[in-house]
Symmetry: C2
């Protein structure tokens, strides 16, 4: 549960060395979870919500899609390891797992050298 720290530093930028086949499959699942506008907004809505967590009732309002669809997207995010969830009484709360985001973020980090060198 708490062992998220190792995940943060697990991935050097993918621009430094070729991604392994298995790692690519794994990472692709996480990116796929981020590949829908509704899920992206859900994630940012949860993360920026007061206290770092939000109940589903906070999340259905801002969208034009039905409640079952929101529930489906939340499930996708959860199964991708991007958010955690817990039922507390009547409501179910969701929060972002920062280690997962950090993992992807560091993976995409482009070395400054490459960035500067790309003056084409």
């Amino acid at each position: 549960m708490l062992g998220q720290d190792e995940a943060v530093a697990c991935c050097s930028p993918m621009v430094r060395e070729p991604l392994g086949e298995e790692a690519a499959v794994d990472l692709a699942k996480m990116f796929k979870a981020l590949s829908d506008p509704v899920r992206l907004r859900l994630l940012s809505l949860i993360a920026s919500h007061e206290g770092g967590e939000a109940c589903v009732c906070d999340l259905t309002g801002p969208f034009d899609v039905s409640q079952p669809t929101i529930s489906h997207h939340l499930k996708v995010l959860r199964e991708a390891g991007l958010v955690g969830s817990e039922r507390r009484g009547t409501w179910v709360y969701y929060w972002v797992l920062p280690a997962a985001l950090a993992k992807l973020s560091s993976l995409l980090q482009a070395p400054a050298a490459a960035s500067a060198g790309a003056a084409r």
Copy 2:
């Protein structure tokens, strides 16, 4: 073409404030391009290749899929704005656009505070 610098700094982490509807649609397209294992490996193969660029002939070998499929994936990456390409004589070369990766990377950056605060 050259206006990539502004893109680098355009996006504060999505965990700080809710993503706008249009921004989410835009970003989702880029993440969708990353949501396939073959494309992820292609991207990292291109980026980590000597000189920061690779010709298609360097990219078809490591994969089990047909060459037209590789070409298709390269097109997806190109249309997502993640790579650039150019024909030089017989061969076509691809390179990564670092600004695009940096944009996504910074977007996913989880503030240390949120990380620490998630001690549930």
